[in-house]
Subunit: 338 residues, 4 copies
């Protein structure tokens, strides 16, 4: 950490800051410049609360020099993480993956027909929600565990893996037999208790970026899972909130190359939530792959306009087929394959 003092800072103020740094377990190097004094703190600064120093008298600015995350940093595993699934599918390697399915599992016919079409299009994962926390108190709330049983059966029938959202710690245990990849939704990205519990299991986790989270905060959130010993974390860009209203969120495609630079974790793009509009999903899926994502997760439903939730952003199966054709060509252009 670096503390830059104001030009007019007194010796007493400088000493008070040095004392506070030492008390926080940080070694201090002092540089007395012509204009201002600079204090460089070395040692275990990741857990130091910088804001506390910001408001001390005589302080101009405080800068964190080291990353606030460690295990998620690129340095920790420069070759990049490849998450391996039981059927040989990998995420983070040369192979790209398509994860697709309905927002909500609705019934047997829906999920089986979806699975058939996802497999047919070349997908690897069947996605679908069993617990739906809806913004409106008047809407469909999900089938729960029986829904997961149906999805598992449908996935097995077509050789797909299962990804589904976990919303509370109490759901982890009952979901374990049914999912291959636990999804943490955007609203739970900073539910640290949930993340910690997911760090203790031995199944991969798909961590979605919060709607107002910085990339750094997403990496810091992943650290909660990694520190538990679960190194199989896949990140997901799904749009952030900005002033633009033409799309539901603004999908931050640049988060993909940024994560690739800062971290070793794989990242996939979610253009369904990223745009909220079916007619924008294909363009943003292509952009994700072109920008270097390790895969794409989209909503698809055999009867998209009747979907019980998120109908507006859900693809028809024929659209998924066409999209996959385009994505294969783009994957080749960036030296990958679907």
């Amino acid at each position: 950490m670096i503390v830059a003092m104001l030009e007019k800072a007194t010796e007493e103020e400088i000493d008070a800051v040095i004392d506070a740094m030492v008390e926080a377990g940080v070694g201090v190097h002092r540089t007395t410049g012509q204009m201002q004094t600079i204090l460089a703190g070395v040692g275990p600064t990741a857990s130091v609360d910088l804001a506390k120093f910001e408001v001390m008298p005589g302080v101009m600015h405080v800068h964190r020099i080291s990353s606030p995350y460690k295990l998620a940093g690129r340095n920790w595993r420069p070759e990049g993480t490849v998450v391996k699934f039981r059927n040989g599918v990998t995420v983070g390697g040369k192979q790209m993956v398509m994860m697709a399915g309905p927002c909500s599992i609705e019934d047997r016919e829906q999920i089986f027909e979806t699975a058939r079409r996802v497999k047919g299009a070349g997908g690897s994962f069947l996605r679908g929600g069993a617990f739906k926390p809806r913004s409106s108190p008047y809407a469909f709330q999900g089938l729960g565990i029986p829904g997961l049983e149906l999805m598992r059966e449908a996935a097995e029938a077509h050789g797909l893996l299962v990804v589904s959202e976990v919303m509370e710690i109490s759901q982890i245990e009952p979901m374990l037999p049914f999912v291959d990849l636990f999804q943490v939704g955007a609203r739970n990205m900073q539910n640290f208790n949930l993340l910690r519990e997911l760090g203790l299991i031995r199944k991969p986790v798909l961590l979605k970026r919060g709607i107002a989270a910085t990339i750094e905060e997403m990496l810091l959130a992943s650290e909660y899972i990694l520190t538990g010993g679960n190194y199989d974390v896949i990140l997901c860009e799904r749009g952030i909130r900005t002033y633009e209203t033409a799309t539901r969120n603004t999908m931050d495609i640049s988060a993909i190359p940024v994560v690739k630079k800062l971290s070793h974790l794989p990242i996939v793009g979610d253009p369904s939530h990223g745009t909220g509009r079916r007619d924008m999903v294909a363009a943003m899926a292509r952009a994700s792959v072109a920008a270097g994502a390790d895969g794409v997760i989209v909503e698809v439903h055999p009867n998209a306009d009747k979907a019980a939730s998120d109908a507006a952003q859900t693809l028809y199966p024929d659209q998924l087929d066409q999209l996959m054709g385009e994505l294969r060509l783009i994957a080749n252009a960036v030296g990958r394959s679907f």
Copy 2:
């Protein structure tokens, strides 16, 4: 709801939209203009998913006419809600309230000394966290229920009410004996399961605005509590995320008059989280009161710079005394009192 069709929309497209509206339980009035056709939907549109219509062929825009919330709307209780507490304190009436205390309850001495100073300054509520979900996995995590016991005792000793944050459904029951006002934090503003449970208890709830939530979303979130029959909801503005980095968040003071116009619920300002900086807290507390807030919630600690959490935004007790003097004068200027 209003569906505006594109100029070039065909009769088939218009009919498809009308059918979908009828299917959604909405009556349709059609206006065929020189340029475009407009379909007005009347009836129970609050639960209709407008996005679904947005992406139908031939549709230009869809507008919601009625508010998506009902019970939280000003119309529902035009005179405004006044939340009454067991000791006679009210929130939402002519009287304004100060809620103050440490970010975290740390020990007996800290919380008793804080209570003494809060009462001395003219505060009505003692605030303090027992469960601390920290952004960094390496930080103090709170005392839990024993901390609440201490806070209760300290509050009783000084005639204060207790407000503390509830983070999970499982905490509601054990917290009930110790708190007068359940606080829902910004990260949980859209934790609808938690809100629903809080709708079933008979203690007031302080609902904080999410860091990326619109005012409309905050009102819709309050609806989850209100629909359960718990009408004692107090809203809280605590800053939103914007591109400005001089303050931790941008406190949206205008949310205060906007809520007063749209809703009957009381609203308080939280300048500690709103700014993240001790040296900005007083100015933003004054601004909150001047803009018409029903009270202020701030962090104060007898030894502010040693606070276990949020030290940078925590006031010294003497600062609280001075602030209360200023707030009393401003309250008078807007026809209220502290």
Copy 3:
């Protein structure tokens, strides 16, 4: 336009709104619902100031039904605009274009060598700034018209077209002999006087999105040029300001498909300004093309790290070569070519 009245609106309030609508030259259809009254205004509503109605007593919300822009709307030219240049290059058709060059024209050698490399990579336009409005008062301010003369000569020598930024009305006339495409920078997107003047010339205009502009505002800005009779407008997405700080701006790739849906105007992506970082430019250029852009504009300099301005986001010529190879493959994937 649609005016939705509050449930409790009185007949007097409703009449006052109707009168105001009629006075604004708008015909009114009234629908009296069970809950609320809705007033639909038909006629020339594009120039009506809706905010004025928003604050009238008894009004809940006002919605604009028709687009605020006309000539820029997709309906006006459903087949899409193709801007044709004197040497046969087109923007907006099947062919995609690369525009590349330094931030600032520095000297003869620099601009000639850049032109050689841009042409070699397959570019069609040489870009370069002659007037540099720098954020810091202490920085290089550009060569002016002599710089444009150099750029013109370099472009001619390699069969390239010239694009350069115009910053004030007084610069249009002197720039005319030297540029093929007038660029309007992000800061001038709402400089309506400048736009109006550019509507009166007969050379194409590249209009960059303002850093805080919505897509709708960009289209409305283009309307100022179009209404003058200059229909050769090319839009440019170059990043918007959000809370994310990992990149200088957040490049809104979704603006590309949105513009394609709402407007007939071509749009190119500017990943140099969109990210501000050389190491992100290629990924975002690829994403732009994959999302359906009609071209890409990037900064390149034979000695990128010594560039007089924007060095950090400027590609080396070898990087441009490699990027063009990738973009050609992606263009094919979306049925286009470079």
Copy 4:
């Protein structure tokens, strides 16, 4: 400036950075830590382009230690700037000021009647626009210099000062006889050529914050005026663009105490543009004063709902009277007066 190298940075990379710093005229202090190397640059770093270092191989982060502005910094004039006008009115001292008037000067009667009411309410400045750059090409564009003549006459008749917006360099000269305070609008906050010219005149300037500008950028923009020798700059907070749509902009009240801490320049609040809604203006004017602003600028019109522009955010004269009564009380609460 501080350059923090990556843990894995090589000696060659470190040397390249040191060379680049020296070349930029910066002295370098090297600290080789256990984990990483840190390079502190001292000397004239204000004009160094930090982004250039950000993308050098081996670099993790670059931090600016000194403020990018100098003359605008609090250190430069710790006692604060008080701008004095010819009639004895001051801005920045104990006295607060009200600036009020119509968005546009429309005719003699309007501006004289407004002046009368502004004076009657206790205002010091008459505001009014003569050149109106409207977002829509179909709207009223202003009276020009004849409008300023009318406004001057009206102001003189009532002992008021005149503030009006200058939009182009060519307007400065003709406006000089008519205005006491040149206003630079939000869209021109970074029109550096205009700012430089205003630095050369000897009349005060009111600089409005850009809709997407940080506070730091506003201070840096003021530096352009100050470096010309014109030290009479007054800043103005008028709302920034955020995702919230309930108000036209989000008025960043916290900018007021932040500016007071970082700079010696006075700052006023503009709640009319800050909210865009007449029914929010009073609350936000009060909040501005409570937060420590040196004054308020609002739109008022004798016939507010018929105003040629900005009608929705324009107060009725009676509302101004009432507001001034409240502001006087709040000013007292913060040790100031109106």
